[in-house]
Symmetry: C2
Subunit: 406 residues, 2 copies
């Protein structure tokens, strides 16, 4: 008699963004005339840059000729892509990372969900609070998080590191020692960052206690300030304690194209075993590579034209971020993020609950945000807005919120 993985039943409700999407669709169905503006899920809206389209057309043509047709990709990704990533994202920033330490994948969501598999069930994870739900949910599914308390919205076996207005939304070293530490900077959902010296403290701490840092740098392209590190490998000692996750979704608009990568330095050894070997074995057994066409698109991101075109896209979104930030601040909201990140993190007015404010905003302004409570207990009383809408919609959304006179 077959049995299910009971851990799945512990997950409270559905995945956050599925719930947000469902509520929006239900509202739209009930109010077909309403012009709903979505500034909720971090989904890009600008079309792909010309250089990427060219690369994909060319790759499609190659797939149509016997001489240039490509079947299964190399297990860890094509060398042309891994080489350019190693050079541009790492070596040119002074990070000692080589191409064979880079694993190409279909995106940072998959990687951030799957990476926990190479660790034993007995590891204790530490997460920022609020946090991108995938880190915790994937560990719930693996049976690593204990029991959920609906009142505190916390798991008994997870170490939460509150990121609040008091600490500038930057976590402090936890009192209890974790085995795996998830960090994401620039942060989703708060848009906060840490300086290089702050991150160095985390690297030193992880090396001292033998913890592994899983560093999600999906929003690296939005960094505008000099002292904010682009990679954890800019810190000394990171090669022995840190895995870095990267995405093409936000720097190149690949949310519907699907490409990302994970970096595991060969010096990262746990239980006398290279994590690099374990992840390679996982890739070889459970994955068959990102499509050739998409890997060529990824390569184009690093071309000189690609860099110019994509800087423009990032600038477009950051203009939205500034508009939301300034607009809501001038309307009396307490606002943070938005400077090195496409997310703005905002206190709900009048101590309103996150979901209560979400519903109210949808109903009164036809604007969809993401309720902060969906990211963890310390997110209660906040909401997240993204800069990924069109400029026109962003302006209109801010004006509509202003008119509500909170």
């Amino acid at each position: 008699m077959a049995h299910i993985n009971q851990e799945y039943l512990k997950l409270p409700g559905s995945y956050l963004f599925s719930t947000v999407g469902r509520k929006q669709r239900e509202y739209q169905a009930a109010h077909p005339e309403a012009k709903v503006i979505r500034l909720s899920i971090g989904d890009v809206t600008l079309p792909l840059a010309p250089v990427i389209l060219d690369a994909m057309h060319k790759a499609v043509d190659e797939m149509g000729q016997a001489e240039s047709f490509k079947g299964y990709a190399p297990d860890l990704g094509y060398e042309f892509l891994r080489d350019v990533i190693a050079k541009k994202d790492y070596q040119e920033r002074g990070c000692d990372i080589s191409a064979d330490e880079i694993f190409i994948s279909d995106g940072a969501k998959s990687d951030s969900a799957n990476i926990q598999e190479i660790f034993g069930k007995d590891n204790k994870i530490a997460v920022c609070d609020p946090v991108y739900p995938v880190y915790v949910d994937s560990n719930v599914m693996a049976g690593r998080t204990g029991v959920y308390d609906v009142n505190t919205m916390t798991w008994s076996d997870v170490i939460y590191m509150p990121c609040t207005a008091e600490n500038g939304f930057a976590p402090q070293l936890p009192k209890e020692t974790p085995d795996i530490i998830y960090l994401c900077f620039p942060n989703n959902p708060t848009g906060a960052t840490v300086t290089r010296s702050q991150l160095q403290e985390w690297v030193d701490y992880a090396n001292k206690v033998g913890a592994v840092i899983i560093y999600d740098a999906a929003y690296e392209a939005y960094i505008s300030e000099e002292e904010v590190p682009h990679s954890i490998y800019q810190c000394e000692g990171a090669r022995t304690c840190a895995i870095e996750l990267r995405s093409f979704s936000k720097n190149a608009g690949f949310t519907g194209v699907r490409l990302g990568f994970t970096v595991i330095p060969k010096d990262l050894v746990v239980d006398n075993t290279k994590l690099h070997s374990l992840w390679a074995r996982r890739h070889g057994t459970k994955y068959n590579g990102a499509p050739y066409i998409i890997q060529r698109a990824g390569e184009a991101v690093y071309s000189p034209e690609g860099q110019v075109q994509l800087k423009e896209q990032v600038a477009y979104y950051m203009r939205n971020a500034a508009y939301i930030y300034e607009g809501l601040k001038s309307a009396g909201f307490k606002v943070s993020g938005g400077v090195n990140a496409p997310y703005i993190w905002i206190e709900t007015p009048g101590n309103m609950g996150s979901w209560e404010f979400f519903d109210l905003l949808l109903d009164k302004a036809q604007v969809v945000c993401t309720p902060g409570a969906g990211f963890g207990p310390s997110g209660e009383g906040y909401f997240r807005m993204t800069a990924f809408g069109s400029y026109e919609n962003t302006v209109e959304a801010v004006e509509r919120i202003k008119k509500l006179n909170f």
Copy 2:
């Protein structure tokens, strides 16, 4: 202190096809002048059909315009693709499967590796022997298979169902009752099939003992005989016991394009829980959908022109299969498969070991096969050849083997 998933260390050696690939590269490096012919891994060689190229070019163009740009795909896949699959692959064959029971993915390898996650660790799996390595390896990683015995090449907690010349390479119902049964027809690696009435026995058995069948139908397009079922849902009662995996890799040449799907009927209930809900939750949490461009390519497979063009591709490969089958048979080999499948399963001459024959064939004929022992203990003494090479290479490989006068 972090700890690794110790189960990974139990895996003997590397993934089969990685080892085959490495041996081939090493040989080529040592003999740069040799013209090595690969009839090992099931990787296609014909370029993509024109209708698929057109669909992809069109989709790339759509991604370049704001009005038609696509970001994150719907969790379970685009409706245009799920609808046409439900209609063409199922409803037109009399199978009661609806579009919302279909989950689009990046391929059958990922799905066949990931599907075990929704089951508890205490489930006992049954596999054909020989078998596609991913079913077993993914369960090893999950800690479900007990201890490996290097002498018998078996895991203590796995039920093996030998597929041998004696039973026509069709497994018999196991003596010990399994919880999860992996079946693959047309079979990889043997190329064997079962009739609809034989498959009905498995469905009846699974319903009786409360087991779930994971039915891998990746080679469905190669079926040429009337009595061979194209889907397990052609059997009565399969909706309450079977999950079906499908791939676009072999019917449309998508090994480097990456597209597949899994069917989970909503009537499939385990521990009072719909497996459909669990898999949906997994998709929502750990996956972000197949690329829009690739899903449009998948849609084109079902168009009238697509059906014509892809039938030609399948016919091309099946001509290779017939050539290998007849050629090696006439040379005195004991040969099976190749009629409803792109794989030919051949006894090694003179009771030679699989890997011994692999090395000899590479050394003496510069032909790469896959050693049967890599698929399980009952594969020892066999080798697999695939029909996915070019016709010219296939002919030359067969001639080279004939000349060795085994």
